[in-house]
């Protein structure tokens, strides 16, 4: 359950930003989670519900933006669809993951006096 350590990192990061901006409260948080990041969105949410209590994030809404995996050819840039062999059928170059492995804290909405 590495989702717990990820939520811990999230809360620490939010605390740092809240301190830096002198926030009185945190209203919302947005994260982007890639399909191939290895993070289960359901587990992340339950870990958040548990750990945000009595933290700077208490009561703050967690918005999770799921990012589907997108593979492209390193040679010609062609899209390689999910379920295909991860190698370009045109130039035989291996595919590279353009998007879909991120675990990113995007933005925090806070209240400042």
């Amino acid at each position: 359950m590495h989702e717990y350590s990820i939520v811990q990192a999230l809360i620490d990061r939010v605390q740092k930003e809240a301190d830096a901006h002198g926030a009185e409260a945190v209203n919302g948080i947005r994260v982007r989670i890639g399909e191939l990041s290895g993070v289960e969105i359901d587990l992340l949410r339950s870990a958040y519900d548990l750990f945000s209590e009595k933290s700077v994030c208490e009561g703050a809404e967690l918005e999770i933006v799921p990012v589907p995996a997108r593979w492209t050819c390193r040679g010609c840039g062609a899209q390689i669809r999910a379920g295909e062999i991860l190698c370009c059928s045109v130039c035989s170059q291996p595919a590279s993951l353009a998007e879909g492995d991120e675990i990113i804290l995007e933005r925090i909405e806070m209240e400042v006096a």
Partner: protein, 231 residues
């Protein structure tokens, strides 16, 4: 707050961060990588399911090298020191990293362990990760390569079910191939096909720690890597 003009009301402020939540681990991994480069040690992160044969492959590796390669190992284990003890017996200076409830090694755990292991004189440092097909793939340790042990008994569809792990693999060791004669239903072609759908540069070596089959190819792969890395 003041009801007529709203003065003193808290103001909503969006703060853009756009930072990976793994950035602390990634920084520590980068630091480990510098240590490894400084000593010209090639670090191999060996991952795979519980019981897939990770320790056995390392034992077979030591036996095949028969003292001709300088090895060391860190072994991630939830609760015991068994694997480090086995590797030590096989002639590999080893240290166990007990993770307790954590399902994976992280870069800080590895960094701490580097202080207590004689690794600097070795050519290869194997980091046997916790047996788990999900979590270890997420955490960079500073390794040069990721190797995944996948036993023929695990089911041909494992790469498709655990794409996060196999996507990160530079090499898959298909282990326990000595069992194939007893497993007529296991289809090696199906395993290879599943790998080509999850690994962009599908590379695998069938091995057996029992018969030693394929261990020579595995050693060649490591040797080739070391040549490349030294350049």
């Amino acid at each position: 707050m003041c009801e007529t003009c709203g003065c003193g009301d808290p103001e909503l402020m969006p703060v853009e961060v756009h930072e990976s939540l793994l950035s602390e681990n990634d920084r520590a991994a980068g630091h480990n990588r510098e240590h490894f480069a400084g000593q010209e040690v090639l670090a191999v992160n060996l991952m795979g399911s519980p019981g897939s044969g990770k320790t056995a492959v390392l034992e077979a590796t030591a036996a095949a090298l028969d003292g001709s390669g300088r090895l060391s190992a860190l072994s991630g284990d939830l609760a015991t020191d068994h694997d480090a003890d086995r590797l030590q017996k096989a002639g590999i200076p080893s240290l166990s990293i007990t993770t307790g409830s954590a399902c994976h090694l992280d870069a800080q755990l590895v960094h701490r362990a580097l202080h207590d292991l004689e690794w600097k004189e070795s050519d290869l440092l194997f980091i046997e990760n916790v047996g788990n097909l999900v979590c270890p793939a997420i955490y960079d340790l500073g390794q040069a390569v990721n190797v995944v042990a996948l036993a023929v008994t695990e089911g041909e569809d494992k790469p498709l079910k655990y794409p996060v792990m196999f996507r990160k693999a530079d090499l898959v060791l298909i282990t326990k191939v000595d069992l194939l004669p007893h497993l007529p239903q296991v289809d090696m072609k199906a395993i290879e096909d599943a790998l080509s759908h999850t690994m962009p540069e599908s590379a695998f070596i069938p091995v057996s720690a029992v018969t030693g089959e394929g261990i020579d190819r595995w050693l060649e792969w490591l040797e080739e890597l070391r040549r490349h890395h030294g350049e």
